[in-house]
Symmetry: C2
Subunit: 388 residues, 2 copies
């Protein structure tokens, strides 16, 4: 186990009707806020009205900025920063999924910074004075509601970059699983894929003696798989929605990465796909991960075998560890297919024409990942494995 | 899953040599502190000198109060409160195990309170203005380094009572597994028992649909069991010591209890044993728990069977679930015996003369536990099962 520091101070308010507490929680921090959200879905199902009422009941002054898109854009972040500066706003409430939250985090970093907020996403510079952020979560997926990360896309050059800083962890996160009953199936699926990927990026590590966190991640995988089947059959199953929502937060708040080197190569490769083709992040991940696994598994057959046996209950072939390892990859791929996630580029209508460009772009700042360092040629090979 | 709120903001600094950071971490909160610790062991192995040097390097003024005993006493708490008041101290640094930390928490609650700090342990009153507490942990056991609980013993009447309040979670906890190499075997064992018990109190619940947290607890149990055998064979195995230390914190910071009713009946019964006979809490728990399990298992055979199969890899007898359930209890008891923990009163030389008094005292404020409510007669029956 490696030395580590870990602090995840986000206050979690979890359960039925908890969105009604948003005014009270927000009031602890500010009387004037920027309410930041995406499209029409929060208005369609009444969440917007409930949030506004709860905030107004506490006499909180509300400025609004909607229109956050999946793969949130830098342009809207600039707009949010301007609204906050012009109106002396010192708290941002994100209502939505990872995109709204990541966009809110970027705004929170930019308001008190004289330079361009994009600096934080492209250099080693750290945001000093970050506004506090609150969250009402509607999509279990990104884990941004309690994480220290934010991913933003700049349309010019189609750059998708991330910023990691404990200062951007939300101060509170409200999670009502009932709000996820009405998610389109595709969003439910992409969320499951994203959550799974946050475990995989941590699970495949070169750090030895991480038995406890291995087992935590394995438990999360197993529960996620079981509950995925339930919600796809019955979208308004509260218990299963609750499990997935809670797994989504815990999988990415950092606990499962304590004391170990993490990988994040597959995320970096996926970011190229979603930056260029604007596909859902989760859809890109279920395409990239099986290919990545097939490309790197020989680096640590034991770890892949452990994954196969403990997560998918595969037979442990004591005289053929490679077969055991491959069985785990096959079962993960089958799980993705069975629940309806894409596993090949053709499943999301992406042509194979820009693979080289993506491989070059993704490795422009050096090799990707840590479990196995991926050079440009490796990324290209992995991308080629996603064709068919 | 039940609605819940959860916040565990303690900053964890984990790994080799991390005790050298105590001055820097403390300095963020105060220039004048009460250093609170137990007996001679921290001086014997050089930790005391390192802590003092690290604090002095940051020009922190240090007042000292040593002498915390296992099952920490209220009298010393009063003394600590007086020192803090007399010297305007606004930060307490506990160096030691759960006893030093629990005692520090009590002092932290009492300094700004006009009444008797014992009120918090015996009434519904909540401490308002609690001093921040920092920790350098030397014994993985109580989990107090990041928990919201404190247990104090009043010698008059031999009362052992707890206080639970998020305000008493330490602001930082420094965990260096190397510091645990020199623990006497008995303390290592009692720590393992205490950590295990914190999982058991949460695992046996009536709340349905808690699959994710079930699996997290099961993973912690399995890793704890595996690493227990390693440290007993090789006390200075860093990897195994690190796993146990990290499990000890996570097992009791509240994550594993999210969304579920917890039990805590066995802890309450054990408190009677250690209040009267001053045995180690962990030794009492490995005596009480098997008896409790045998007394209540019929209340939920499935849950006990799940424990047997998932934690101990017991065979699942599909046509005889009771046999499966009992197998888990037997294996836990065997695990305790095998590593050298007591499982009967006679193992710690406690006579069976005061069982009735303990049963009466423990239920003076009403029945114990939640999984099964234990009346006085139930507690007495359980205590009788610990005789031989």
């Amino acid at each position: 186990m490696d030395n580590f520091t870990f602090q995840s101070p986000t206050r979690i308010i979890f359960g039925k009707k908890t969105e009604l507490e948003v005014g009270k929680e927000t009031k602890k921090f500010s009387n004037k806020i920027l309410l930041h959200y995406g499209g029409s879905s929060i208005k369609k199902y009444g969440l917007y009205d409930k949030v506004i009422k709860s905030l107004k009941d506490e006499n909180i002054e509300i400025f609004e900025l909607g229109g956050v898109k999946p793969n949130p854009r830098l342009d809207l972040v600039y707009e949010g920063i301007k609204i906050c500066r012009d109106n002396n706003i010192n708290f941002i409430l994100a209502v939505g999924g990872g995109s709204a939250i990541d966009s809110a985090k970027a705004i929170a970093c930019g308001v008190n910074y004289q330079g361009d907020v994009w600096d934080f996403y492209t250099t080693d510079k750290k945001a000093g004075n970050v506004l506090p952020i609150g969250v009402v979560l509607t999509i279990p997926a990104a884990g941004s509601e309690a994480s220290n990360g934010s991913v933003i896309t700049r349309e010019e050059g189609l750059l998708k970059k991330d910023y990691v800083d404990d200062a951007i962890r939300p101060v509170f996160a409200i999670l009502n699983p009932e709000l996820t009953f009405t998610l389109p199936t595709e969003q439910t699926l992409c969320g499951i894929s994203d959550i799974f990927a946050h475990g995989l990026e941590r699970y495949f590590t070169n750090t030895q003696n991480v038995d406890f966190t291995d087992r935590l991640i394995e438990g999360a995988f197993k529960s996620l798989i079981n509950n995925a089947y339930i919600v796809l059959e019955k979208p308004s199953d509260y218990a299963a929605r609750a499990e997935i929502m809670w797994i989504g937060l815990v999988m990415h708040n950092g606990l499962f990465g304590t004391g170990r080197e993490e990988d994040w190569g597959s995320h970096a490769i996926e970011h190229e796909l979603s930056a260029i083709y604007d596909i859902a992040h989760g859809a890109g991940l279920s395409i990239v991960f099986p290919a990545w696994m097939k490309y790197v598994y020989k680096h640590d057959l034991n770890r892949f075998a452990q994954f196969a046996v403990r997560v998918f209950g595969a037979e442990r072939y004591f005289n053929d560890i490679e077969r055991t390892a491959l069985e785990g990859i096959k079962r993960l791929e089958n799980f993705y297919k069975e629940i309806g996630l894409p596993t090949k580029l053709k499943d999301v209508n992406i042509p194979d024409t820009l693979l080289e460009e993506m491989a070059n772009k993704s490795t422009a700042d050096g090799p990707l990942g840590h479990f196995v360092k991926l050079e440009t040629k490796d990324v290209l090979n992995i991308l080629k494995m996603t064709i068919r």
